[in-house]
Symmetry: C2
Subunit: 216 residues, 2 copies
């Protein structure tokens, strides 16, 4: 599959590298055609890797991964262009973290709205699936790297997009316990969980943890 | 121990009944000296149970449990009176649920503040421990009613109060995995988790679940 990874940070690089390793073509999108971090990543990743603008990546990708910072996501997707994204599945991995009010960060949208919803509203023709935003990126791509049962969430308005995404996430990254929380408004739930995630990071002194939803 | 349970709802009744069963004296506090629900509970609970105003309960209790609705907590504690609460450990089980904007509820304080913090600020001489607010009340009092390992959180500014609370919660209700999230500002984390808890309730069709923090 041809996959667009939007964002050159640690999340984008980790996801991109895992997908290359699985044999997919990955185009990393950023603000400019020749981004230094994207170039370095392409160089070390071999012939399945390429880079381009957000629009180049969105046009080429059959599946779009939003790995940009939450504060940059709407602008990045605007640059990607709705025409290039229309009808495609977009995994929104971002979180609306606001670092301006001290640590741990707060959220710049929360409670009665969410970044997932803002993205879906801004790009109505895109099939947004909010997922993978509740764990560290190393864990995202390798569920088994943390022993034991633990849970991943997804939500979105398009049932078919969620079903396809669940299958891919399971096949690619080894996730077995994936809970569908409902429509895109459930982004409020997984984004708000970041408050707890950040405090747990502080208490446990490692980001290599996850929650398992224990039920009968 | 003599324990004040503030609130006559399902949470207060469940906690009160469990504590009576464990041999403690419980005084249920409410707005009035003769509350119908409190009277009915006292009647069925035997000689260790009594009722009174919030102030009566707070004055008598060595440990205070805030089981009132989040929207009523500050007013209930004001009626209880800081003099009656001073120096005592108060378990804040409440959540700032706002039902005025549709279902699932949102929070009337969140993100950069929390109800736990509001209570601690309003009653600085009280040793507030935020805990037990992330699970259904039947599970609160009997961790083993949900098989498997799962996690409870606490936070607060007073280390000794947290340590004593951890011991009591473990001894009384069978909780083994209790994570200290830090000072009272971590109430933002467990209160914000309600967003996820409520969506999970919807997805799983039962409130009898909990999260287990899986870590190495």
């Amino acid at each position: 599959m041809k996959i667009a990874v939007l964002g050159t940070g640690m999340v984008g690089e980790t996801l991109g590298s895992k997908l290359i390793q699985l044999g997919h073509e990955v185009i990393m999108g950023s603000r400019s055609k020749n981004n230094d971090k994207a170039s370095a990543w392409v160089q070390k990743s071999g012939s399945l890797a390429s880079q381009g603008t957000f629009a180049d990546a969105a046009a080429a990708g059959e599946l779009i991964l939003n790995c940009t910072l939450g504060s940059a996501s709407l602008e990045a997707l605007t640059q990607a262009g709705e025409a290039n994204l229309a009808g495609k599945i977009l995994w929104d991995l971002s979180n609306p973290l606001d670092f301006s009010k001290g640590m741990p960060p707060s959220l710049f949208v929360s409670n009665t709205d969410s970044l997932g919803e803002q993205i879906q509203r801004a790009f109505p023709s895109v099939r947004v699936v909010k997922t993978l935003n509740t764990i560290n990126c190393n864990l995202m791509v390798d569920a088994a790297s943390l022993p034991g049962d633990h849970t991943l969430f997804l939500c979105g308005n398009d049932a078919e997009a969620k079903s396809a995404s669940r299958d891919l996430i399971s096949a690619w990254f080894g996730w077995r316990d994936i809970i569908d929380l409902g429509d895109i408004t459930a982004s409020r739930a997984t984004e708000s969980y970041l408050h707890l995630w950040l405090r747990l990071w502080g208490a446990l002194k490692t980001p290599q943890f996850n929650l398992h939803i224990v039920r009968r």
